[in-house]
Protein backbone atom coordinates (compact mmCIF):
# COMPACT_ATOMS: atom_id res chain seq x y z
CA UNK A 1 0.00 0.00 0.00
CA UNK A 2 2.82 2.41 0.90
CA UNK A 3 4.46 1.79 -2.45
CA UNK A 4 1.23 2.68 -4.16
CA UNK A 5 0.95 5.94 -2.23
CA UNK A 6 4.48 6.85 -3.24
CA UNK A 7 3.63 6.24 -6.88
CA UNK A 8 0.56 8.45 -6.58
CA UNK A 9 2.57 11.21 -4.93
CA UNK A 10 5.30 11.04 -7.55
CA UNK A 11 2.67 11.08 -10.27
CA UNK A 12 1.06 14.18 -8.82
CA UNK A 13 4.43 15.88 -8.41
CA UNK A 14 5.13 15.24 -12.07
CA UNK A 15 1.76 16.80 -12.83
CA UNK A 16 2.90 19.96 -11.06
CA UNK A 17 6.12 19.92 -13.04
CA UNK A 18 4.09 19.79 -16.25
CA UNK A 19 1.93 22.62 -15.04
CA UNK A 20 5.02 24.75 -14.57
CA UNK A 21 5.37 24.77 -18.28
CA UNK A 22 2.27 26.91 -18.55
CA UNK A 23 3.49 29.43 -15.99
CA UNK A 24 6.62 29.64 -17.98
CA UNK A 25 4.85 30.24 -21.27
CA UNK A 26 2.07 32.50 -20.16
CA UNK A 27 1.01 34.15 -22.41
CA UNK A 28 -1.48 36.13 -20.37
CA UNK A 29 -1.44 37.13 -16.74
CA UNK A 30 -4.59 35.06 -16.29
CA UNK A 31 -2.75 31.95 -17.43
CA UNK A 32 -0.35 32.36 -14.60
CA UNK A 33 -3.17 32.78 -12.14
CA UNK A 34 -4.59 29.58 -13.50
CA UNK A 35 -1.50 27.60 -12.85
CA UNK A 36 -1.25 28.80 -9.29
CA UNK A 37 -4.63 27.18 -8.97
CA UNK A 38 -3.30 23.99 -10.47
CA UNK A 39 -0.55 24.08 -7.89
CA UNK A 40 -3.07 24.62 -5.15
CA UNK A 41 -5.37 21.77 -6.07
CA UNK A 42 -2.63 19.29 -6.87
CA UNK A 43 -0.69 20.27 -3.78
CA UNK A 44 -3.79 19.64 -1.73
CA UNK A 45 -4.13 16.17 -3.24
CA UNK A 46 -0.49 15.46 -2.43
CA UNK A 47 -1.05 16.60 1.13
CA UNK A 48 -4.02 14.27 1.52
CA UNK A 49 -2.15 11.28 0.18
CA UNK A 50 0.85 12.15 2.35
CA UNK A 51 -1.44 12.23 5.38
CA UNK A 52 -2.37 8.64 4.67
CA UNK A 53 1.15 7.60 3.76
CA UNK A 54 2.82 9.13 6.82
CA UNK A 55 -0.21 8.34 9.04
CA UNK A 56 -0.01 11.92 10.26
CA UNK A 57 -3.50 13.34 10.52
CA UNK A 58 -2.24 16.80 11.49
CA UNK A 59 -1.37 17.25 7.84
CA UNK A 60 -5.06 17.85 7.32
CA UNK A 61 -4.65 21.07 9.29
CA UNK A 62 -1.83 22.10 6.98
CA UNK A 63 -4.15 21.44 4.07
CA UNK A 64 -6.91 23.57 5.56
CA UNK A 65 -4.47 26.41 6.26
CA UNK A 66 -3.22 26.30 2.70
CA UNK A 67 -6.75 26.21 1.43
CA UNK A 68 -8.02 29.15 3.34
CA UNK A 69 -5.03 31.26 2.43
CA UNK A 70 -5.29 30.23 -1.20
CA UNK A 71 -8.69 31.84 -1.24
CA UNK A 72 -7.25 34.97 0.28
CA UNK A 73 -4.52 34.97 -2.31
CA UNK A 74 -6.97 34.69 -5.16
CA UNK A 75 -9.13 37.47 -3.85
CA UNK A 76 -6.11 39.66 -3.27
CA UNK A 77 -4.83 38.91 -6.69
CA UNK A 78 -7.90 39.82 -8.62
CA UNK A 79 -8.53 42.85 -6.48
CA UNK A 80 -5.02 44.00 -7.18
CA UNK A 81 -5.28 43.66 -10.90
CA UNK A 82 -8.71 45.13 -11.01
CA UNK A 83 -7.55 48.26 -9.24
CA UNK A 84 -4.52 48.43 -11.40
CA UNK A 85 -6.64 48.37 -14.50
CA UNK A 86 -8.86 51.08 -13.10
CA UNK A 87 -5.85 53.25 -12.48
CA UNK A 88 -4.59 53.04 -16.04
CA UNK A 89 -7.58 53.19 -18.35
Amino acid sequence: MDGFFVIVIVFLLLNIALGLFRVWRGPKVADRLLTTQLFGTTGMAILLVLAGYLKELTLLNVAITFNVLAILLVIGLVQVWKNKKEETP
Partner: protein, 102 residues
Protein backbone atom coordinates in the same frame (compact mmCIF):
# COMPACT_ATOMS: atom_id res chain seq x y z
CA UNK B 1 -9.09 -4.71 5.38
CA UNK B 2 -8.47 -5.81 1.84
CA UNK B 3 -11.72 -4.38 0.52
CA UNK B 4 -10.98 -1.02 2.09
CA UNK B 5 -7.59 -0.88 0.44
CA UNK B 6 -8.95 -1.91 -2.92
CA UNK B 7 -11.53 0.84 -2.79
CA UNK B 8 -8.81 3.35 -1.89
CA UNK B 9 -6.63 2.22 -4.77
CA UNK B 10 -9.45 2.46 -7.26
CA UNK B 11 -10.49 5.90 -6.07
CA UNK B 12 -6.92 7.22 -6.13
CA UNK B 13 -6.29 5.88 -9.62
CA UNK B 14 -9.46 7.52 -10.90
CA UNK B 15 -8.42 10.74 -9.15
CA UNK B 16 -5.01 10.64 -10.75
CA UNK B 17 -6.59 10.12 -14.13
CA UNK B 18 -8.62 13.29 -13.74
CA UNK B 19 -5.55 15.23 -12.64
CA UNK B 20 -3.71 14.05 -15.72
CA UNK B 21 -6.66 15.06 -17.87
CA UNK B 22 -6.71 18.49 -16.26
CA UNK B 23 -3.02 19.05 -16.73
CA UNK B 24 -3.11 17.90 -20.34
CA UNK B 25 -6.06 20.17 -20.92
CA UNK B 26 -4.17 23.13 -19.56
CA UNK B 27 -1.24 22.33 -21.75
CA UNK B 28 -3.12 21.57 -24.95
CA UNK B 29 -6.26 23.67 -25.12
CA UNK B 30 -5.98 26.71 -27.30
CA UNK B 31 -7.54 29.57 -25.34
CA UNK B 32 -7.75 30.64 -21.74
CA UNK B 33 -11.43 29.92 -21.18
CA UNK B 34 -11.28 26.30 -22.25
CA UNK B 35 -8.10 25.83 -20.23
CA UNK B 36 -9.86 27.32 -17.25
CA UNK B 37 -12.78 25.00 -17.78
CA UNK B 38 -10.61 21.90 -18.12
CA UNK B 39 -8.52 22.68 -15.10
CA UNK B 40 -11.24 23.66 -12.68
CA UNK B 41 -13.58 20.81 -13.52
CA UNK B 42 -11.05 18.03 -13.87
CA UNK B 43 -8.82 18.89 -10.96
CA UNK B 44 -11.68 19.38 -8.54
CA UNK B 45 -13.13 16.07 -9.57
CA UNK B 46 -9.72 14.47 -9.22
CA UNK B 47 -9.29 15.98 -5.80
CA UNK B 48 -12.76 14.73 -4.88
CA UNK B 49 -11.84 11.17 -5.75
CA UNK B 50 -8.55 11.35 -3.94
CA UNK B 51 -10.24 12.89 -0.91
CA UNK B 52 -12.83 10.11 -0.91
CA UNK B 53 -10.10 7.52 -1.24
CA UNK B 54 -8.15 8.92 1.67
CA UNK B 55 -11.28 9.27 3.79
CA UNK B 56 -11.96 5.58 3.22
CA UNK B 57 -8.36 4.68 3.97
CA UNK B 58 -8.02 6.73 7.17
CA UNK B 59 -11.49 5.63 8.29
CA UNK B 60 -12.02 8.05 11.12
CA UNK B 61 -15.16 10.21 11.22
CA UNK B 62 -13.31 13.31 12.47
CA UNK B 63 -10.69 13.03 9.75
CA UNK B 64 -13.39 12.34 7.16
CA UNK B 65 -15.15 15.52 8.20
CA UNK B 66 -11.93 17.49 7.83
CA UNK B 67 -11.20 15.94 4.47
CA UNK B 68 -14.69 16.84 3.35
CA UNK B 69 -14.08 20.43 4.42
CA UNK B 70 -10.75 20.53 2.64
CA UNK B 71 -12.45 19.40 -0.53
CA UNK B 72 -15.27 21.88 -0.04
CA UNK B 73 -12.88 24.77 0.56
CA UNK B 74 -10.78 23.90 -2.41
CA UNK B 75 -13.92 23.72 -4.50
CA UNK B 76 -14.98 27.09 -3.21
CA UNK B 77 -11.58 28.63 -3.71
CA UNK B 78 -11.17 27.34 -7.18
CA UNK B 79 -14.67 28.17 -8.33
CA UNK B 80 -14.34 31.66 -6.87
CA UNK B 81 -11.02 32.18 -8.48
CA UNK B 82 -12.24 30.60 -11.70
CA UNK B 83 -15.07 33.09 -11.82
CA UNK B 84 -12.80 35.97 -10.88
CA UNK B 85 -10.11 35.02 -13.35
CA UNK B 86 -12.62 34.59 -16.14
CA UNK B 87 -14.24 37.90 -15.37
CA UNK B 88 -10.87 39.53 -15.09
CA UNK B 89 -9.86 38.22 -18.48
CA UNK B 90 -13.18 39.22 -19.97
CA UNK B 91 -12.82 42.75 -18.70
CA UNK B 92 -9.30 42.90 -19.96
CA UNK B 93 -10.41 41.74 -23.40
CA UNK B 94 -13.28 44.15 -23.29
CA UNK B 95 -11.19 47.16 -22.34
CA UNK B 96 -8.58 46.25 -24.88
CA UNK B 97 -11.13 45.98 -27.66
CA UNK B 98 -12.73 49.21 -26.60
CA UNK B 99 -9.39 50.95 -26.66
CA UNK B 100 -8.46 49.62 -30.06
CA UNK B 101 -11.87 50.57 -31.41
CA UNK B 102 -11.71 54.09 -30.04
Amino acid sequence: MMIKEIITVILLVVGCFFFLAGTLGVLRFPDLFSRLHALTKADNLGLGFIAAGMAVYIASPWAALKIFFIWLFTLLASSTSCYLIARFQKEQNHSKNGKEGG
